[in-house]
Symmetry: D2
Subunit: 119 residues, 4 copies
């Protein structure tokens, strides 16, 4: 069971202080943060480039460590972008899950990866 130590708020506040101390707000336009988010997501994906789905379920420890590092980068840019756009990303995620529950009713979606528009 994964434990979760830090909150969205504490990450957001730490990122704000980090950028302010370094005068980096000038670089943190939403566009640049969106580019960075996409770049980091691809760096994460790179760790799965040549392995099968099955192999990805039992990753060697050193690969998990590399993936975790890229996940951290994705989260940091996501939290920073949310702050810049004044978006509560946790609430957006909760709302999206409720939308998905309607789009993918259990009886129709069970065991199928079909997109909701084709269900």
């Amino acid at each position: 069971m994964s434990e979760i130590t830090y909150s969205f708020e504490s990450l957001r506040d730490a990122l704000r202080a980090f950028a302010a101390e370094r005068d980096w707000d000038q670089f943190h336009s939403p566009k640049n943060l969106a580019v960075s988010l996409s770049v980091e997501a691809a760096e994460l994906l790179q760790n799965f480039q040549w392995i099968s789905d099955e192999q990805s379920k039992t990753l060697p420890r050193d690969v998990v460590v590399r993936v975790r590092d890229e996940m951290a980068d994705v989260l940091l840019y996501l939290v920073r972008l949310a702050d810049k756009l004044d978006v509560d990303v946790s609430e957006a995620a909760q709302t999206k899950m409720e939308v998905n529950a309607l789009r993918y009713p259990v009886d129709k979606a069970r065991g199928r990866s079909t997109k909701h528009t084709d269900l």
Copy 2:
């Protein structure tokens, strides 16, 4: 000031229940989740495709709504991947910020977007 309503734990637990009810764990290999994360990050980026950095700082409301929806997807796949890999992504982010603080000392990094390896 953005408010934050839901915790990582509550999103993780809701995603677990969502997948279990639909028998979707079979599709949620770490590789597939990494692919999905990357795809959603690019869908988010698409909203910034033809606008300048400056324009991205004052997005129309309807664009913010679309971006927020993609941020939700990114977060959901990130939380799901973290759960599958048994990673505490919040702690990884906190650790990464501490690493970045060492890589980018205030006096050297102030006002510069240079990569740490070139500082």
Copy 3:
């Protein structure tokens, strides 16, 4: 004026020989090639992460060299994927331009980056 030295065919054939000699066809599933294409496109994008649109028009020579190297990777995976799917990517591109000419009539699209669905 950029010159163009090699043809799609010669790249395709060289890639076939390269993979055959190394027994790499086993790794070159269309899914893996699509993942690789996306990863390389993001590595290319990384070179533009913190610069403005304007700055990107006058890149220092060393950045152009790095970008060119990533463009090569994108092209190689694209040609390889086309071969595996038996697709003539050059004809697909030509056809797409003809579709785009209909979607974006000169009188409506002139000077506007609006998506065709909103024109």
Copy 4:
């Protein structure tokens, strides 16, 4: 055997005319083109999101058609970016293959997906 109908040059020239007629050069900064390339590569990847490597080797015809359409977009942005940066992307690809031949000698790389830095 896939046939190849159009050359890089003809695509490049058609794209130049297309942009000139619509006064779109103003939007085609190298940064924006790099963003677009990455977005299209992810749209291509989306077609492989929930299928296995094996399944990707025998795609239904309608999926191949969708993938081909995204490959066209990737190629068009790549050719356009090459033109803007005055890069011969075909030569860059040829050169990269020669580099890769040195990095991955047949006797060492045969049947292995290990990265050259770890060979």
